[in-house]
């Protein structure tokens, strides 16, 4: 393999001519140009650990030896001066973490965070308990934010036509352009943004539009709130957003609303929903009931008491039938013989019996009519103002994303657009395929793109501006309930990036105005001049403007006049965002690529999901590569047979198949946007499949779907890893879960001599498997990314995994999930077998893992019945990428090759609390230590603490009748125990 010099130099300045290209393939960035470009990028974690060539190894070894001789004899290290801090900055103590409040903006509203910072380096995000969208918890994306910040593949400079340029040259260029535009009132100026939740940014945009009245502001985000807002318009004639209050709802019907998965804004809904799933004190009061209609298994479906699989296009009919049962005007009854008739009837009855506390929610991917129906049912059920609140949308600009982008594309093709400024977003990759955005873009004379990565769009623009990460910039952001949060930088921009505020300031001819100044100006309007400084500091400290939540809007329903959509014909094709990569913006985050998807357990790929029956009908198996044709477009991808998927339907996952995501994300999966057109943004019908005869290897972390295949029939209920009971059985006998207490038959004496005995309880009735805990664990514990090849070989390194099991009919199975960290057994099988005592019992009952002492016999992992130990088969930790080193938790060792590792109950956090308590001469307070998984859990399903003290939260949970230990018959006496799943089925639907 020869390493010729790359032709395009991206980071160093070199005078050159306009960008040249040799072939169309190169122009579009396909191989091999892309390969060369890749080599230019700084290295992140290797994608796989496939062996390097032996010859390469010898060459490198020889060269390094030779160079070692040269450098030892001929060079001298340059002199560097170290200057100590004569006066230490306030509060900055090496080894002591500081926390700062900030917000992570999202289309549906921002989430408030508290970011841990070590010596000026943000290392971990936690939830901001004061923030209504966080309530102390976070989602997977805020956990991965730190990785995004330090991603070595981020764009590191401003480029003009592919060559490095400066901010001042951009300002000069824009000044000239804007002067030209001023003459035409901006008729050639277009700004394309993503959903804007920042009032400051919105104000800037409006100011710009005021100055250039003929200019236009468009917005596009592939996963948007269009349907929801259009639905509200249909139902109420008002632009409002439903803010469900799941904590106040006794019965919830979800029309494909996936509010318990890893979806934007899920944190609050999970918290509120699961607050009604927790059984305490042996009682089953207040347990809510969830009905879910959906086309493919999601976390929401898994948590449901009743789940019905329907194609996405059939849900509207079911919704109309439900509405008709409940007497909503304009609804039509169910067609006779509909598969969902009995189900809808029972759900309708249940809803009507819970007026005021019954809630119907519709998913973003459902058409506006379904949203309208949901709203009208809520009105009919007298739930509005109770468990269904309507608020003004968090987003500014009410324009329909699809319409807005289509108009822009048409204008571009018609040559009406002279200057296009794209503030974030990646429309060349994610715009509907029929708009041919890339082609349209080529017709725009001046293209400006602000972006964190040199992505698919950046390569087709004149000016690429490297964008700041939200942890590097000042801004503000509204949350779903209207609360205004502050986006506070944790670190100066790593690559002198610019934020959208600064770019807009240039357009508005106010160069030099920083985002911070703009933000403060706007804050003055909100807080008033009086005592502004004090209020401002308070807001920055809290991360939000207290009391800025929006007041509910009163709404009244109209008659439903939308005609019913026809039922899907033939094979339905549905496009859904990925739980972790979302719309593709996180495609270069190794943690998110590798983390197994909650329902498919797939990592590193997207798939074409279909049901077992459809697969059989089409003679397909998992891993078969098929060609999907839809509306004249085609793509190929691997099939994944998914139990619980609707028949005659395909699900394609967006966010993969990136060509220019970065070293990690390039070429992972297929690009489903290639089939996604304006007319079928969520789903369409009439797709066809053709088997190509090829197969494609997929990396799943769990190959077995059933939890009891190894158990005889009569013991399945008793020994299954996830224990389940219905609420009726539980009421009859709360001890239904409890088995005969295991005697401690260990030969060794009880060793809990420590002051504390740490233990954990995981409530399976609350856990929704959203995955935030797994990402948080990676972020907290510096767990490495191993790559697809290694995952396929069963070598993923997650300390905490979420098992998923199916039970019953593959058409509509029951789905159970179970997070599995280290059980910290008191009679730990791992400890006795380690020859060098590298894993041993602490006085406080932890199975300590001493990396330094480990020689890597792997006996402990073999002997672990829970298989929670993870081994560094290779040097998985990235020792090379400098920026990634900043993001690591300095309190946790970065493990090297050949050592075992596992969950430690975040022993660094325990020790931190221990030190604090010792200094203050007190005991550690209950709740003072929160493990990383516990801290982020939106469901509050994980509780950690001292089990020696019967008054702690964890001790109380352990005393609950539904508390059980996994594999307790082995007498391992795990410190981690589970609260069993107690479902609340409707007796009428129980067969």
């Amino acid at each position: 393999m020869s390493h010729e010099a790359p032709e395009t130099t991206l980071s160093s300045s070199r005078p050159s001519s306009p960008r040249m290209w040799r072939s169309l393939a190169e122009f579009h960035g396909q191989e091999p140009f892309e390969q060369k470009l890749l080599r230019e990028h700084p290295k992140q974690t290797q994608k796989s650990f496939d062996p390097p060539e032996r010859r390469d190894f010898l060459k490198l070894m020889g060269a390094s030896l030779a160079l070692a001789g040269v450098s030892a004899s001929c060079t001298k290290q340059p002199l560097e001066k170290l200057v100590p801090w004569a006066k230490n900055p306030e509060q900055l103590l090496p080894g002591k973490a500081l926390f700062f409040a900030t917000s992570m903006p999202w289309s549906s509203g921002a989430i408030g965070l508290l970011v841990e910072s070590h010596m000026g380096r943000p290392t971990k995000c936690e939830g901001n308990a004061d923030h209504p969208a966080s309530l102390g918890a976070t989602d997977v994306w805020s956990q991965a934010a730190v990785l995004g910040l330090y991603d070595p593949d981020r764009s590191q400079s401003i480029l003009y036509r592919g060559r490095p340029a400066t901010w001042s040259s951009f300002m000069d260029a824009m000044k000239q352009t804007m002067t030209e535009q001023a003459g035409k009132q901006g008729s050639g100026l277009r700004v394309l943004s993503q959903a804007v939740v920042s009032p400051t940014l919105a104000a800037q945009l409006r100011e710009l539009l005021a100055k250039y009245p003929k200019a236009a502001w468009h917005q596009w985000q592939p996963a948007n709130r269009d349907n929801a807002r259009a639905g509200a318009q249909l139902a109420f004639g008002q632009d409002v957003e439903l803010q469900p209050r799941f904590d106040k709802a006794d019965v919830v019907v979800s029309l494909e609303a996936d509010f318990l998965s890893s979806t934007p804004g899920n944190v609050r809904s999970i918290r509120e929903f699961t607050s009604r799933r927790k059984l305490r004190g042996g009682k089953a009061d207040g347990l809510n009931r969830l009905y879910v209609l959906e086309g493919r298994p999601t976390c929401t479906g898994a948590a449901a008491d009743h789940r019905l699989t329907l194609r996405a296009g059939e849900i509207e009919a079911a919704a109309r039938a439900l509405a008709s049962k409940l007497g909503v005007s304009g609804a039509v009854p169910a067609p006779s013989g509909a598969a969902f008739a009995a189900w809808v009837e029972a759900a309708a009855k249940d809803l009507s019996e819970h007026k005021g506390s019954a809630l119907v929610v519709a998913g973003e991917s459902q058409p506006p009519a379904v949203h309208a129906i949901a709203h009208l049912i809520n009105e009919k059920l007298e739930s509005i103002g109770r468990c269904a609140q309507y608020l003004p949308p968090a987003e500014f600009s009410g324009s329909d994303n699809a319409q807005s982008l289509a108009t822009l594309a048409q204008d571009m093709k018609d040559g009406k657009v002279e200057v296009l400024v794209m503030l974030s977003g990646n429309p060349v990759y994610d715009a509907p395929a029929d708009l041919e955005f890339g082609v349209a873009l080529a017709k725009v004379p001046l293209r400006v793109h602000l972006s964190q990565y040199r992505d698919e769009t950046s390569e087709l623009v004149d000016w690429h501006l490297n964008e700041t990460h939200f942890l590097e910039s000042w801004s503000d952001a509204r949350s779903a309930d209207g609360t205004l949060g502050i986006v506070q930088p944790l670190i100066a921009p790593l690559y002198s990036g610019k934020s959208a505020h600064e770019v807009l300031a240039v357009l508005a001819d106010k160069p030099g105005v920083s985002a911070y100044d703009t933000l403060r100006e706007n804050a003055k309007k909100l807080l008033g001049e009086a005592e502004f400084e004090r209020k401002w500091r308070r807001a920055v400290h809290d991360g939000l403007f207290a009391g800025s939540a929006a007041a509910p809007v009163s709404v009244s329903g109209r008659k439903l006049e939308v005609p019913a959509a026809p039922a899907p014909i033939g094979l339905e094709i549905a496009f859904r965002t990925d739980p972790f990569l979302h719309d593709g913006r996180f495609a270069n985050h190794g943690w998110l690529l590798e983390q197994p998807r909650p329902m498919t357990m797939l990592s590193w790929d997207n798939v074409i999901q279909l049901s077992p029956a459809t697969a059989e009908k089409l003679d397909l198996e998992t891993s078969d590569v098929v060609e999907v044709a839809f509306a004249g477009r085609k793509l190929t991808g691997p099939v994944f047979v998914t139990p619980g998927h609707a028949d005659d339907a395909l699900t394609l996952t967006l966010g993969f198949g990136r060509r220019k995501a970065g070293n990690m994300g390039n070429g992972v999966g297929y690009d489903a946007y290639a089939l996604r057109t304006s007319s079928a943004l969520s789903q369409g019908s009439g797709a066809t499949l053709r088997k190509t005869g090829e197969t494609y290897a997929l990396a799943t972390t769990q190959e077995h779907d059933k939890m009891d295949t190894n158990l005889p029939e009569n013991l399945r209920e008793e020994l299954s890893p996830v224990r389940v009971a219905t609420v009726d059985h539980f009421r009859e006998n709360p001890h239904i879960i409890k088995r005969k207490e295991q005697e401690n038959t260990s030969l060794y004496a009880d060793r809990n001599k420590g002051e504390y005995a740490w233990g954990m309880v995981i409530d399976l009735n609350a856990c929704t498997a959203c995955g935030a805990c797994v990402t948080a664990c990676s972020a907290e514990n510096n767990t490495p990314v191993v790559g697809k090849t290694e995952v396929m070989r069963g070598r993923e390194m997650h300390w905490l995994r979420i098992d998923r099991y199916f039970q019953g009919d593959p058409k509509n199975p029951k789905i159970y999930t179970q997070p599995i960290p280290c059980m910290q057994c008191e009679n730990a099988p791992c400890e006795t077998v380690c020859p060098v005592a590298a894993t041993s019992h602490s006085p406080e009952g932890l199975n300590d893992m001493v990396y330094n002492r480990c020689i890597g016999t792997r006996y402990c992992a073999n002997n672990c019945p829970y298989k929670v130990r993870r081994f560094n088969f290779y040097l998985y930790s990235d020792y090379d990428s400098e920026t990634l080193k900043y993001g690591r938790n300095p309190d946790v060792t970065v493990r090297s090759r050949g050592v075992m590792e596992k969950c430690t109950y975040c022993v660094q956090r325990i020790n931190r609390a221990n030190l604090a308590a010792k200094k203050e001469d007190r005991k550690i307070r209950d709740g003072e230590i929160r493990t990383a998984c516990q801290a982020v859990c939106p469901a509050d399903a994980i509780v950690f603490g001292d089990i020696k003290d019967p008054k702690t939260a964890v001790s109380k949970l352990k005393a609950e009748p539904q508390n059980y230990a996994l594999l307790e018959e082995l007498n391992t006496r795990p410190r981690t125990t589970y609260l069993a799943r107690v479902t609340n089925p409707n007796r009428e639907l129980e067969s």
């Binding site: 650990f49 939890m707 009891d708 069963g794 995994r801 890597g856 002997n863 019945p865 050949g898 391992t972």
Partner: protein, 460 residues
């Protein structure tokens, strides 16, 4: 009665017409001959290549990590431990022949004990490479030894792996000493017969000044007896301790008390199979039919049959206990062996280790060199599969179905395995070329004219 006894008198242990001199000539010439057989060069060339492959594999493992192997989570042990146990088991026959049969005064052992002991040494060397290289950080493997250190760290004596370190290192040491001490008189014979001065000096140094004095013989006999006494418990202890690696674990398929006796029987079973595998070609190439007679072959066949039946009993008990224990996981372990993804391996194991050795009931088969070779190869494979079944099938599906997996050996698994086989053949070839492969002085004791010296091992 006595007439009848003569009728069933087993075949002689040495061919007819041999004198003391002819025995010495025949065996010593194998070493001192100037004409190295072409076959020997061929064996060295082929096995030497595999030694090179072994070296490359070991270096790769050292520099890049055990990730090169197919091991994963849940199957943390793969070929390395399978082969370790396999090689250790093979070594057992040597110790059994040299120690226990010596103590039991089984005269027929004399012509095969030297080679069998050599086999033990080389097998233990092969075995020893695996535990070292299978550690994640082999350069720190010495932490398994109780050496004083600044960390104040001691070993975890509850771990069977530590017991292994002691058991295997003791075994290797005692076997080596026993083998070497046993060779001293013959080395002196070679010294005396060598014509080349350097060869003479080399053997002279090795034979530690042996002159054949009565006092030497006296001490030799005492030393042999003591060493045999030391070795005898090792035959039982080593594989017992190796079996603890599994039996002390909690995994279904490991956690069982039948393992120690069943491992020991299996080891002897495998060891005799390997002795036959080596001796049969050696006997043919070097025309040693007079020393390794049909009676030797018969006896080895019988030992294989007997130990094979013990092993079969072990399998049966495992199955019975899975049912009788009432443990769902044990029962599943058995079902998974019989019907799971590795069922072919398990059925092949039953075929190789139980069904095929039944041929040995037939005296005709026991007398047939080809049949013996076939059975011994089948047992070699079967015993390897047994370890595969124990290590891989038990680990790949244990308690929680969520963490079940599969194990697929990689090129490096195979290269290390074939490399150690190459090393074994390489070392064995060197042994038969440079050291007396049959104990000259002991075989001389078998010459019908009567004992050449007041030896104890000759009459029975």
């Amino acid at each position: 009665m006595s007439n009848k006894t003569t009728d069933v008198e087993p075949p002689a242990l040495i061919g007819p017409g041999h004198s003391l001199a002819s025995v010495t000539d025949k065996i010593a010439d194998m070493v001192l001959t100037k004409r190295t057989p072409l076959g020997w060069w061929l064996a060295i060339a082929v096995s030497g290549t595999f030694v090179g492959i072994l070296g490359f594999t070991v270096l790769s493992l050292f520099f890049r990590g055990v990730g090169l192997w197919g091991i994963n989570n849940p199957v943390g042990w793969g070929f390395a431990i399978i082969n370790f146990v396999w090689w250790i088991g093979i070594g057992h026959a040597g110790t059994l022949i040299s120690a226990i049969l010596l103590l039991l005064r089984q005269g027929w052992r004399t012509s095969i004990n030297r080679a069998a002991e050599a086999m033990t040494i080389f097998a233990v060397m092969c075995a020893g490479m695996y535990p070292l290289m299978h550690t994640g950080r082999p350069w720190l493997a010495f932490w398994m030894l109780p050496l004083p250190n600044s960390m104040g760290m001691w070993q975890n004596f509850r771990s069977p792996l530590i017991w292994d370190v002691f058991a295997v290192s003791t075994y290797a040491t005692v076997s080596l000493v026993f083998w070497y001490v046993g060779m001293v008189p013959d080395l002196a014979t070679l010294r005396d017969r060598a014509r080349n001065i350097w060869v003479k000096r080399a053997y002279g140094a090795l034979c530690l000044g042996w002159r054949g004095a009565a006092s030497h013989w006296d001490r030799y006999e005492i030393a042999s007896l003591l060493l045999a006494g030391l070795s005898a418990p090792l035959v039982v202890s080593v594989h017992t301790v190796v079996s603890f690696d599994f039996a002390a674990g909690i995994i279904p398929g490991w956690h069982t008390t039948i393992f120690p006796p069943y491992f020991v029987a299996g080891a002897i079973f495998a060891g005799f199979a390997m002795v036959l595998t080596l001796m049969l070609p050696l006997r043919a190439w070097y025309r040693l039919e007079d020393f390794i007679t049909e009676r030797h072959l018969q006896n080895m066949g019988k030992v294989m049959l007997a130990t094979g039946l013990i092993v079969a009993y072990g399998y049966a008990i495992e199955g019975f206990m899975a049912w009788y224990s009432g443990s769902a996981y044990e029962q599943f372990m058995l079902t998974n062996r019989l019907t799971g993804p590795y069922k072919y391996e398990y059925w092949s194991l039953l075929l190789c280790n139980i069904l095929i050795p039944q041929i040995m009931w037939s005296k005709k088969a026991r007398s047939s060199v080809w049949m013996l070779f076939f059975v011994s190869m089948s047992v070699n494979i079967g015993m390897w599969l047994e370890r595969f079944v124990i290590v891989v099938i038990s680990l790949h599906r244990d308690f929680l179905p969520s963490s079940w997996g599969m194990y697929h050996p990689t090129l490096y698994d195979w290269s290390m395995f074939l490399g150690t086989i190459g090393f074994f053949i390489f070392a064995f070839s060197l042994f038969i070329r440079f050291l007396p492969a049959i104990a000259i002085f002991e075989v001389r004791g078998l010459v019908p004219r009567g004992p050449a010296r007041p030896g104890k091992s000759t009459h029975h």
